[in-house]
């Protein structure tokens, strides 16, 4: 399980550095697979069937459909690349490290002596990194990936501290994520159509 | 019965005496300026003449122009009756009533001055209202120097209170303050020049420019009555001392007349010894009066 957490953290860190959209989607794919594996691990530990179903669903939705959809979108977005981020890759990695430190610090302070401290802290850290990605990156696709990272972090949290949510809820969450990605993808496509770019910082007309 | 008769007589007495006082002031002034001056009774002659002349009424004017002299006359007379301390109505005399009766006369006269449609009249009315605005607080304050210790605004009580008041600094301050107001209220130098005939310097006279004949007579007479009233006020409230001798009403009357004479001459002295102030220096002049009153109140 710890291995999975480390892997997840690693992918999250990687995401702070990539500029190529295709690479980013690939990393998300890896991340999702890791999440599915963690699910499987928990399933093997507890021996309950619904983890296997959840792991299967994760693989199906997060590792197949979503990356596929994102790859298709990226395929249509020629010459789109992350440039001039709010923070340079180095700085954003630094920010991710800071977020991890904050997460650990916070968990230790607010919930001292909790059982699965590492998993909890890692989950919070991944959520924070996901938030950071949305804040730092300009590319629409990268923001979608940030959102997914957040969601993965939360999923990990659920797995590690509560041994997973009831299946029906998880199902609902999966559907939501799927639809969210679909809608965001559609919007990205429309963005490209009307702005001729998927740089989200162009969208600053609505203010005041 | 006695009362009714005196009510009837007192206005007549006031009307009869007012031109005399005016004559005395004029004469005293002339004497001080080394002139012979008009006869002591000249004011009576003037009034007689005016009341025998017809008048020209400007076609611009309306009925306001015509009623104003009557109201002015009536207010002056009413003020006199409510102040004349020998009169029987004295217990009804009230400080605020008096001030507002004066205001009433001025109100209508100023309206009349606007009614004629001439610039001189308007100017006179405007200046008269300006002076009245400055005078009113000063007048009230100076009267309050007596009224506040008396604890009432009834003239009668104020007078009683003033009679028992020793001659102290606050008293003198109050007297000076009131005298300054009296100068302004009677329209004398340094506030206004009653003898001027230069349109641009006229204040009270400016308002009367369009009046002639008996209307002018009414107004002149009323002004004299008003002047007398204010002098009486001054003497009763600020020169209240009576001789210890108890000689009945006659001796008192003579003594009172003497004090009145002093006040009238004082007015003449002031008028002779000062220059007319520029119109917009009046604020300062009356502010001094107010200040003296306040000082008097503080010192009491």
């Amino acid at each position: 399980m710890s291995l999975m957490i480390i892997l997840l953290m690693f992918t999250a860190f990687l995401l702070t550095r990539v500029t190529n959209l295709r690479t980013a989607v690939s990393i998300l794919l890896v991340q999702s697979v890791v999440v599915a594996f963690s699910c499987l691990v928990v399933g093997l530990e507890t021996g309950k069937t619904h983890y296997f179903i959840a792991a299967l669903l994760t693989v199906f939705i997060k590792a197949v459909i979503i990356p596929y959809a994102l790859f298709r979108i990226v395929g249509r977005l020629k010459r789109e690349k992350e440039t001039d981020s709010f923070l340079s890759p180095n700085l954003s990695s630094l920010a991710a490290v800071a977020a991890t430190a904050v997460a650990y610090g916070f968990i230790d302070r607010a919930l001292p002596g909790i059982i699965s401290r590492d998993a909890l802290a890692a989950a919070v850290a991944i959520v924070l990194i996901g938030l950071q990605i949305i804040m730092i990156r300009r590319q629409a696709v990268l923001q979608i990936i940030g959102l997914n990272t957040m969601e993965n972090g939360l999923y990990l949290l659920g797995l590690s501290v509560t041994k997973g949510l009831p299946l029906i809820i998880e199902l609902g969450i999966f559907v939501d994520i799927l639809v969210a990605v679909a809608i965001l993808g559609l919007l990205t496509y429309r963005l490209k159509l009307s702005y001729l770019s998927t740089d989200t910082t162009l969208m600053q007309k609505l203010k005041g | 019965m006695m009362q009714v008769i005196s009510v009837m007589i007192s206005p007549l007495l006031v009307l009869a005496l007012a031109p005399l006082v005016a004559g005395i002031i004029k004469k005293a002034k002339a004497r001080m300026q080394n002139r012979r001056g008009p006869a002591l009774l000249q004011s009576y002659y003037d009034l007689h003449k005016l009341f025998h002349k017809g008048s020209i009424i400007s076609s611009t004017t309306s009925w306001v122009f015509k009623i104003a002299p009557y109201i002015y006359f009536a207010t002056a007379l009413a003020a006199a009756m409510l102040t004349f301390f020998a009169g029987p109505l004295v217990e009804f005399a009230d400080l605020f009533l008096l001030v507002y009766i004066f205001a009433m006369g001025r109100f209508f006269l100023a309206l009349a001055s606007l009614d004629s449609g001439s610039a001189f009249g308007g100017m006179g009315g405007s200046r008269e209202m300006y002076i009245s605005v400055l005078v009113e607080p000063a007048l009230l304050l100076s009267l309050l120097t007596v009224a506040l210790p008396a604890g009432t605004t009834s003239m009668d009580n104020m007078k009683t209170m003033a009679e028992g008041f020793p001659l102290t600094l606050p008293y003198v301050l109050g007297a000076v303050a009131f005298f300054m107001v009296a100068v302004a209220e009677t329209g004398r130098i340094p506030v206004d020049n009653p003898d001027t005939h230069l349109e641009l310097t006229m204040v009270h006279e400016g308002m009367l420019l369009e009046y002639s004949g008996c209307y002018l007579g009414l107004i002149h007479w009323a002004s004299m009555v008003k002047q007398l009233t204010i002098l009486v006020l001054f003497t009763s409230l600020f020169l209240p001392w009576m001789p210890v001798v108890n000689g009945g009403i006659l001796i008192e009357g003579i003594f009172f007349a003497g004090k009145l004479l002093i006040a009238a001459v004082l007015l003449a002295v002031v008028e002779t010894s000062t220059n007319k102030l520029r119109l917009f220096r009046l604020q300062g002049f009356l502010a001094v009066s107010c200040l003296l009153s306040v000082l008097a109140l503080v010192a009491q």
Binding site: A110, I134, I136, T200, M203, Q204, K205, K207, G208 | P11, S55, I56, I57, S58, S59, T60, W63, V64, I71, F73, A74, T75, L77, A78, M81, L82, L89, F92, D94, F96, L97, V99, A103, M104, R106, F107, A110, L111, L114, D115, G117, S118, G122, S126, R127, M129, Y130, S132, V133, E136, A138, L144, L148, T152, L209, C214, Y215, L218, L297, V298
Partner: protein
């Protein structure tokens, strides 16, 4: 019939007045008659209701029980009845006047005007009678909103709209303060019924906050400086019968509210409250009358003068508070009598003046006095009635204005008895002097108003073409003028019920105010009694006039007509003294307050010496508007523009907000 019946009748008629203009498909002419007839009938029935209350005594009339909010009652007590009387009288006359006046509005939203007018009257009647705080607040706010629609009736002009907006917003914010004050009281008393609000044990801090909140709230409605700015803007632009009602009754509702608050709910009062009110009041009097004097817009002068008179009313209220705090029941009674009587009187003569001004404005279609003049010849009745109103507002003896001003003077005069030491003495003296100054300025102001508007030669063609108004407009004015004189000669007509009302409050005593039927008023508050000898003064004046008449007419002297002497030139209207000129000496005298700014534009084309055109403009600075409201407004707008940058369209900023809030909340929670 008793008070209750008349009350219901009033409500019914006003209600019909609201509904009929909506539902009846008839012409404007009939709408005008029916709606304003209903208004007049309802108002008259309110007068009867008030009279019956004074005859029958106080009663409580339960209406219905309101979810959460308790029993809603109508309470007929003397305080309410007194104001109801005022509202009824003025409502009746203004409604009749409206029949004539509103012909101008045929085809211009007459229905809306008429129904709002009825609603406005209805809301005022309810304000004065309701005994339940929520119902009170609702009718209070309805009063504001409906009067807003009346003020804003001629919204085609931008300036009107702006003024109406300021009016609505300021009074709305004022209401917020009233709500706060009343809620503090309600939660302390545990009831929404005014009946349970007397003598609640309150801590000093709460009492003081209620007082201050109430003062700000009601002061805004009353137009007390520095929260007066809406009043001189809103009153002039309303249709004149509405201005009359607003100045006459609506702003008095603030006096009503304060009376309830200070006499019933917050008694016993503190000394410093009185001092605060006195200072604000004298400031209000002086500044407002100065502005009134400088103003040339006829209705604006009247509006500023309303502010001034509210100041005079508040002066006596302040004195009343001081006396009540010191336990001087007699003097407190005197001061409150002065305040409430002046409120009544001001209602009468200000309504008269607004109606008169309305007649003039309608006849000439002019607003600026400088273009009027000579109307006394074309509109003789209006002029006479306006003159009576001017005399009353200038507090000339024999008018009702004088009686109440005299009472105010008296209550200020006795101020040393409420405040010991030199402070009280000087304070009293200075306040008397300043009130005297106010009075003199008001007199000057109305000399100017009447003189410039009605006298001399007409200054424009429109003024020349004016015609007298019809009787429906003149009769109401005549009634008001008659009332002004009647109350000036026989004030006890109103003072008697007023004393009845004030006697119900234990902190006040009206025993010191003796009504001597023949002489006038006798005040026995000091060491000795002071008499306002109305009959004597009247007699003396009458005597003087008779004597003068005898002197002038005993022999018939020739009277010729001629032109005014203007140094030999034929006089024209352009030679007349202007309003601006008339007030110039005072403008210079009070330059430090008014800060006049003048601008002279000379066009010297053609001739270098006397040019072809000369324009003279003078503006004065309204110190509170210029120094407080404008900068405040600008700062707010500037601040708002800075704050708007928070929403600058950047998504990452928005996400950052969420992150920040989360972190702040987490840190705060683990403190």
């Amino acid at each position: 019939m008793n008070a209750t019946d008349f009350y219901y009748l009033t409500l019914l008629l006003f209600f019909l007045g609201i509904v009929l203009p909506i539902v009846m498909p008839i012409g404007d002419n009939r709408i005008n008659f029916i709606a304003h007839g209903m208004a007049a009938g309802g108002s008259f029935s309110a007068v009867l209701c008030a009279i019956f209350i004074f005859i029958e005594g106080s009663t409580v009339l339960p209406l219905f029980t309101w979810q959460h909010l308790g029993l809603v009652e109508v309470k007929f007590d003397y305080l309410g009845a007194y104001f109801l009387l005022m509202a009824g009288i003025l409502g009746t006359v203004t409604s009749i006047y409206a029949i004539g006046y509103c012909k101008e509005f045929y085809g211009r939203r007459l229905r809306l005007l008429a129904l709002c007018f009825n609603g406005f009257l209805l809301s005022m009647v309810i304000v004065f009678t309701i005994n339940h705080v929520v119902a009170f607040l609702i009718s209070w706010e309805m009063m504001t909103i409906l009067s807003f629609f009346l003020v804003n009736h001629e919204w085609e002009q931008t300036a009107n709209r702006r003024a109406a907006y300021i009016y609505l917003v300021m009074t709305h914010i004022g209401t917020a303060f009233i709500i706060a004050a009343f809620l503090l009281l309600a939660t302390s008393a545990g009831s929404f019924s005014f009946s349970h609000w007397g003598h609640i044990p309150l801590s000093e801090a709460v009492r003081n906050s209620i007082f201050l909140l109430g003062l700000i709230g009601f002061g805004t409605k009353a137009g007390i400086i520095p929260v007066h700015v809406w009043l001189p803007q809103a009153h002039p632009i309303a249709p004149s019968h509405v201005s009359a009602l607003m100045s006459g009754v609506m702003i008095k509702s603030a006096v009503y509210g304060l009376s309830r608050l200070l006499l019933e709910f917050l008694a016993p009062v503190s000394l410093w409250w009185g001092l605060v009110v006195l200072v604000l009041a004298i400031l209000t009097c002086l500044l407002a009358v100065l502005y009134a004097l400088m103003e040339n817009n006829l209705k604006k002068v009247l509006a500023y003068s309303s502010v001034e008179n509210m100041g005079i009313i508040f002066l006596s209220i302040g004195a009343g508070l001081v006396f009540a705090a010191k336990g001087q029941a007699l003097l407190a009674g005197l001061a409150w009598t002065a305040a409430l009587f002046h409120a009544f009187n001001h209602g009468l003569f200000k309504a008269l003046l607004f109606l008169g001004a309305g007649a003039v404005v309608q006849a000439t279609h002019l607003k600026d006095m400088e273009e009027m003049g000579g109307l006394i010849k074309t509109m003789p009745y209006t002029a006479l009635l306006f003159l009576i109103g001017s005399a009353a507002i200038a507090a000339l003896p024999l008018s009702n204005g004088f009686v109440s001003e005299w009472l105010t003077f008296q209550s200020l005069f006795y101020l040393p008895q409420g405040i010991e030491g030199i402070g009280g003495k000087l304070g009293g003296a200075v306040l008397v002097a300043l009130l005297g100054l106010t009075g003199a300025l008001a007199a000057a102001c109305f000399v100017k108003v009447f003189g410039i508007t009605f006298l001399a030669k007409p200054r424009s063609h429109r003024a020349q073409a004016a015609t007298e108004r019809e009787w429906t407009m003149l009769v109401p004015m005549g009634v008001l003028a008659g009332l002004c004189i009647t109350l000036g000669l026989w004030p006890n007509l109103v003072l008697k019920p007023l004393k009845m009302m004030l006697a119900t409050y234990p902190e006040l005593s009206t025993a010191g105010l003796i009504d001597n039927q023949w002489v006038g008023l006798v005040v026995t508050a000091g060491y000795d009694e002071t008499i306002l000898a109305i009959s004597v003064a009247a007699g003396a004046l009458l005597l003087g006039i008779t004597l003068a008449l005898v002197l002038v007419t005993h022999r018939s002297l020739p009277e010729r007509s001629g032109e005014t002497w203007t140094c030999g030139i034929y006089p024209t209207a352009r030679m007349e003294y202007t309003g601006t000129g008339f007030s110039k000496p005072l403008r210079i005298a009070f330059a430090s307050i008014l800060r006049p700014h003048r601008q002279i534009i000379v066009d010297v084309q053609g001739n270098d010496y006397y040019g072809s055109k000369l324009e003279y403009r003078i503006t004065i600075q309204h110190v509170f508007t210029e120094k407080i409201y404008k900068p405040f407004n600008e700062r707010i707008i500037r601040g708002a523009k800075v704050f708007r940058k928070l929403q600058n369209g950047s998504l990452r900023l928005y996400i950052g907000y969420i992150l920040t809030v989360t972190i702040v909340a987490l840190i705060w929670s683990s403190r």
